[in-house]
C-alpha cells in the first residue's frame, strides 16, 4: 500500500462518518499508480514517488510530539488551527464529507488517499480566511480537504499555511471563481525534512492571484491546475527553496479554456546544500480559447556544489489565433557580474551573494514565518543578513 499503514488506515476510516464512501476512496488509492506517463527521457519522474511509498504513516498522533509553533497573529477573522489532525482553535468548522466538488478523486493516487482520510473545510462567502495546518508527531499523516467557492462579484482571500515538523502533510484544494469574482490564494509549506503533498484544481471565470512557497521538505510535491474561462485572468508566483537533502517538485499548469483569457506566471527556485528543486508547468491554450495570452518564466539558482535543479516550462498552443504565448527558463549560479558589481562597491563576496539570493527569493508581502525560515537557512549557509546602516 505505501504511505500509510494499511491496518491503521482501515481502522481509522471505519471510525469516521461516511465510512463506506471513504472505503471506496481508499480502494481507488490502492489501485491508482503514482504516475502514468514518464516526465522525460532522461529522468523518469521529477518527483521521487518511492520516497512517499516507503512511508508507513498512521492517522493518530503518537510518540514524541514537538510543541507546535503557533502563529502570533491570525491574519484573518475566520480561521482555523489544526494540530495533528485535531482542530485546536478557530471559528471554521470541519465537515465530514469526503469528496471535493472541484477535484475528481481519481486525479492522482494521493488525492484519493487524502479525500479518504481528511475532514473538509468549505469556504463559500467573501472574506479573508486563514488555515493553519500543523503536524508535529512523527509518522503522522495529516490530510486536509478544502473547497473554495467564490460567487459572482465575490472576493475571497485564503491564506493556507502548513508546518510539518514531523510526518507528512497533505492538502487537496479545489476552488471555483465565478464571473467577476476575485480569488486570492497564498499557500505556504514549511517543513523540517518532513513530507508534503499538495494537489489543487481551480476553475476560474474571474480573477485569480496565486502565491505558493515551499521549503524544507525531504519530499514535497505540489501540483496546481488552473482552468481559465472566458475573459479570466490569473497570475501566479511559485517558489521553492531547497536546503539540506530537500526534494521539492512544484508544478503549476494553466489551461486556457475560454477566449480572451490571460495568464502570467513566475516560477523560482533556489537549491542549496544537496537539495533538488524542480519547477515546471504547462501553459495550454485550447482551441476554444482564441485571443488568449500566456507567459511563464522559470528561474533556478544553484547556490551549492551539490545542488540540482530542473526547470521545465511547457507550452501547448492548440489554436493559431493567439495574442501571445511564451516562456523562458534558466538555471545558473549567482551571476558573477552582479557579484562583481557589488564587490566594486565595497561589499564582500559572501555578503554580495547573500543580497542577490535574498533579492531573488523574497517577495514583497511575504509572511513573517517565510522570512524567518529563509533567514535561518541562509544564515546557516553563511549568508548573514546585513542590516541597513543609516
Amino acid at each position: 500500500m505505501g504511505v500509510v499503514d494499511p491496518d491503521e488506515v482501515t481502522r481509522y476510516i471505519s471510525s469516521l462518518p461516511e465510512s463506506n464512501k471513504r472505503k471506496e476512496l481508499l480502494k481507488l488509492f490502492i489501485e491508482l499508480p503514482y504516475q502514468r506517463v514518464n516526465d522525460s527521457p532522461t529522468l523518469k519522474h521529477y518527483t521521487e514517488w518511492e520516497e512517499y511509498d516507503r512511508l508507513s504513516l498512521s492517522l493518530r498522533a503518537q510518540g514524541e510530539r514537538i510543541r507546535p509553533i503557533l502563529p502570533l497573529l491570525k491574519p484573518a477573522d475566520k480561521y482555523v488551527i489544526i494540530v495533528d489532525n485535531e482542530v485546536i482553535e478557530g471559528n471554521l468548522d470541519l465537515s465530514s464529507e469526503p469528496y471535493n466538488s472541484v477535484i475528481s478523486p481519481s486525479s492522482e493516487k494521493l488525492v484519493a488517499l487524502t479525500l479518504a482520510t481528511a475532514g473538509k473545510l468549505k469556504v463559500t462567502r467573501g472574506g479573508k480566511y486563514f488555515i493553519y495546518h500543523v503536524s508535529t508527531s512523527p509518522l503522522l499523516f495529516s490530510p486536509l480537504n478544502v473547497e473554495v467557492e467564490a460567487g459572482k462579484g465575490e472576493k475571497i482571500e485564503l491564506f493556507y499555511m502548513n508546518r510539518v515538523e514531523a510526518g507528512m502533510g497533505s492538502l487537496v484544494l479545489g476552488a471555483r471563481g465565478a464571473e467577476g469574482s476575485s480569488v486570492k490564494v497564498r499557500l505556504v509549506n514549511l517543513g523540517n525534512s518532513s513530507h508534503f503533498y499538495l494537489f489543487s484544481r481551480m476553475e476560474i471565470q474571474g480573477e485569480l492571484e496565486l502565491d505558493v512557497f515551499s521549503s524544507g521538505t525531504r519530499l514535497g510535491h505540489a501540483e496546481i491546475k488552473v482552468d481559465l474561462g472566458e475573459g479570466a485572468r490569473s497570475s501566479f508566483k511559485a517558489r521553492a527553496f531547497g536546503v539540506r537533502d530537500n526534494k521539492i517538485d512544484l508544478k503549476v499548469d494553466v489551461n486556457h479554456v475560454g477566449p480572451y483569457s490571460s495568464s502570467q506566471g513566475l516560477l523560482k527556485a533556489v537549491a542549496a546544500d544537496e537539495a533538488y528543486t524542480s519547477i515546471r508547468g504547462v501553459a495550454s491554450i485550447s482551441s476554444s480559447a482564441p485571443d488568449s495570452s500566456t507567459s511563464i518564466i522559470g528561474r533556478s539558482l544553484l547556490i551549492s556544489r551539490g545542488a540540482k535543479a530542473v526547470v521545465t516550462p511547457m507550452l501547448e498552443v492548440k489554436t493559431g489565433k493567439i495574442r501571445e504565448a511564451r516562456h523562458s527558463a534558466s538555471a545558473s549560479k549567482v551571476s558573477e557580474d552582479s557579484v562583481f558589481y557589488l564587490q566594486s562597491r565595497g561589499v564582500d563576496r559572501k555578503t554580495a551573494e547573500g543580497l542577490i539570493i535574498r533579492g531573488f527569493l523574497l517577495e514583497e508581502g511575504d509572511p513573517s514565518e517565510v522570512l524567518q525560515v529563509v533567514e535561518e537557512s541562509l544564515t546557516k549557509l553563511g549568508y548573514t543578513k546585513v542590516e541597513p546602516s543609516v
Binding site: T42, S300, V310, E316, A325, A331, S332
Partner: protein
C-alpha cells in the same frame, strides 16, 4: 546477382506497436502479431545471410529483434502512425544491376530520376563524393581520388561491413544502442543500406560530402544507417538529402545516424528532408563529441507526413561544443512534425546551442521536445536554447516541451520559447509598399528562419527558399 525479396507486413508491425502503448496489449499478443507480420528470427537470419554479414552483425540484428519486442512503445508517439496505410512491404530488394563506378553506366530511367532531383549536377560541381541509395542497395559509389588518397573511407554500409569489419564493429550502434527505444531496436534488426565514412587523423575535407537518399519503389521500407567517424583533428561536412517521388502507398522510414567526433574533430551534418507527404520519417540521430570536438546539426524537416527526429549530442570531452539548428514545417491537416534537440553535457567546459524554428499552417502540428542535461562534474557548462513556432492560421497547433536538468552548480542554462502568429504590423508595412500578401508572408517566413538559412550551403538555401515559397502558395488567406 539475383533479385531477393523478403516480404514483411510493416503496417501490422507498426499498428501492433501503437496498440502496445501503455501496455494495452500483452507481450505475448504483441509477439504473436509481429511474428505473423513476418518479423521473426528466421527472417532476420535470412537477411543477414543474403548480405553475407559477419556473425556479430547477425547477433546484433537478433538482439535488436528481441529488444523490439521487449521495450515498451514510447507514450509520446502520435497514434496517427498506427492508422496509416503502410501495406505489405518488400523489406530487402536487391536492384537488378550491380554497383556501377561511373555515372555513365547507370541505366537511363534511373539516371533520369536522379537527374530530376539534381544529384549528378551538384555532385560534379561542388560535392566531394557521393553514395546514392536506390532501392536499399547503393548503386553508385564514387569517392573522389584526392579523398581516397588522404585515406578517407566512404562507402556503402554493406561494403564497409565486408571490407572493414573490425572498424565498423568498433562503432556500429555503440553511440545509439538498440536498447535505447523500440524503434532503435527495430532499426538494429532490419538495418539495410546507408553510408559509412571514416575521416583519418587531421584530414580536413574542404568540400561538403553528400549522400543522397531516395526511397524508390512504392512499398519500400528504408532502414538505412549512417555511421560517420571523424578521427582526431579532422573535419567533414556531410549533407544528407532525402527526397522521394509521390508514392501510392504510405512509406515508413526508420533510419539512424551515428556521428563520432574524436578530440578536436569537427563534424557538420546537414539534412534536408523533403519527402513526399505519405512518408513517415522516424530518424534516430546521435553524436558523441570528445575533447575539444564540435558537432553541428543542421536539419530541415520540410516534407513527410509524420516526422520524428531529435538530433542529440553527448558532450563527453572537456571543451566539446555542439549546435543544432532545426527548421520544421507542418503544412497540412495530419502533418505531425516532432522535433527537438537533446544536449547532454557530461564534461567540463562544454557548450551547446539549440535553435529550433517551427512553421505551421493548414492545421499542421509542430512539436518541440528538447532536453538540456548538465551532469554532475560538467563544470562551466553553457547551454542556450531558443525555440520559436510561427503559426500562419487558426487551425495550427504548436507544442513546446523543453526539459532543463542541471546537476552541476557551475553551469548556465538558458531557454526561451515563443509561439507567435504572423505580425500584422509587418505585413501591413510590406503591403503599403506594394508587396502582395503571399509574397509578404513568404518574406516574413524566410526572415523567421534566417538564423538557419545562413548556415546552409548556397544551393540548399536556394532549395529551401523555393520549397517554402511553393508551400506558402498553397496557403489560403493569411491569418
Amino acid at each position: 546477382m539475383e533479385e531477393q525479396q523478403i516480404g514483411l507486413d510493416l503496417q501490422e508491425i507498426i499498428s501492433a506497436s501503437i496498440e502496445a502503448k501503455n501496455n494495452r496489449i500483452s507481450f505475448d499478443e504483441f509477439h504473436e502479431r509481429v511474428v505473423r507480420a513476418g518479423l521473426r528470427r528466421s527472417v532476420i537470419e535470412e537477411i543477414s545471410k543474403v548480405k553475407s554479414e559477419p556473425e556479430w552483425m547477425t547477433k546484433l540484428r537478433l538482439r535488436g529483434l528481441e529488444l523490439f519486442e521487449k521495450i515498451p512503445t514510447p507514450n509520446w508517439l502520435p497514434d496517427a502512425i498506427g492508422n496509416l496505410n503502410v501495406s505489405e512491404m518488400s523489406l530487402y530488394v536487391k536492384p537488378s544491376l550491380d554497383t556501377k563506378a561511373s555515372w555513365d553506366e547507370i541505366p537511363p530511367e534511373i539516371k533520369r530520376y536522379y537527374e530530376e532531383l539534381g544529384v549528378p549536377k551538384s555532385e560534379r560541381e561542388v560535392l566531394g563524393g557521393l553514395v546514392a541509395q536506390f532501392e536499399s542497395e547503393p548503386i553508385y559509389q564514387n569517392v573522389k581520388k584526392e579523398l581516397a588518397k588522404k585515406g578517407v573511407i566512404m562507402l556503402s554500409m554493406e561494403s564497409a561491413v565486408q571490407k572493414y569489419p573490425d572498424l565498423v564493429r568498433e562503432y556500429y550502434m555503440k553511440i545509439f544502442p538498440p536498447s535505447d527505444h523500440k524503434f532503435a531496436a527495430l532499426h538494429a534488426a532490419l538495418s539495410s543500406g546507408g553510408v559509412f565514412v571514416y575521416v583519418p587523423k587531421n584530414v580536413r575535407i574542404q568540400t561538403p560530402v553528400e549522400g543522397f537518399f531516395v526511397i524508390g519503389t512504392p512499398q519500400e521500407a528504408q532502414f538505412e544507417h549512417t555511421l560517420l567517424i571523424a578521427d582526431e583533428g579532422s573535419y567533414i561536412h556531410f549533407i544528407e538529402g532525402c527526397s522521394a517521388p509521390q508514392l501510392t502507398k504510405d512509406s515508413f522510414h526508420d533510419g539512424m545516424v551515428e556521428l563520432y567526433a574524436k578530440s578536436n574533430a569537427r563534424i557538420k551534418f546537414t539534412t534536408i528532408q523533403n519527402w513526399s507527404k505519405n512518408v513517415i520519417n522516424f530518424n534516430n540521430k546521435r553524436a558523441w563529441a570528445d575533447q575539444g570536438a564540435t558537432v553541428e546539426w543542421v536539419e530541415g524537416s520540410l516534407g513527410a507526413r509524420i516526422s520524428v527526429v531529435y538530433p542529440t549530442t553527448i558532450l563527453r570531452g572537456r571543451g566539446a561544443t555542439s549546435t543544432s539548428l532545426v527548421v520544421t514545417m507542418a503544412t497540412a491537416e495530419g502533418d505531425w512534425k516532432d522535433s527537438g534537440s537533446k544536449m547532454i553535457h557530461a564534461a567540463p567546459d562544454t557548450r551547446s546551442k539549440v535553435i529550433n524554428k517551427n512553421i505551421g499552417f493548414n492545421g499542421g502540428v509542430n512539436v518541440y521536445r528538447g532536453v538540456i542535461r548538465v551532469n554532475k562534474g560538467a563544470v562551466n557548462a553553457r547551454a542556450y536554447v531558443k525555440c520559436d513556432s510561427l503559426m500562419l492560421d487558426d487551425k495550427t497547433k504548436a507544442f513546446t516541451y523543453p526539459h532543463n536538468q542541471v546537476f552541476e552548480q557551475d553551469a548556465d542554462v538558458a531557454h526561451e520559447a515563443h509561439t507567435l502568429r504572423m505580425n500584422e504590423d509587418q505585413l501591413f508595412y510590406l503591403r503599403t509598399r506594394g508587396i502582395g500578401d503571399k509574397e509578404a508572408t513568404s518574406m516574413l517566413v524566410l526572415g523567421f528562419i534566417d538564423d538557419i538559412m545562413r548556415e546552409l550551403p548556397f544551393e540548399y538555401a536556394t532549395m529551401l527558399n523555393k520549397v517554402i515559397k511553393l508551400e506558402i502558395e498553397k496557403l489560403g488567406a493569411v491569418a
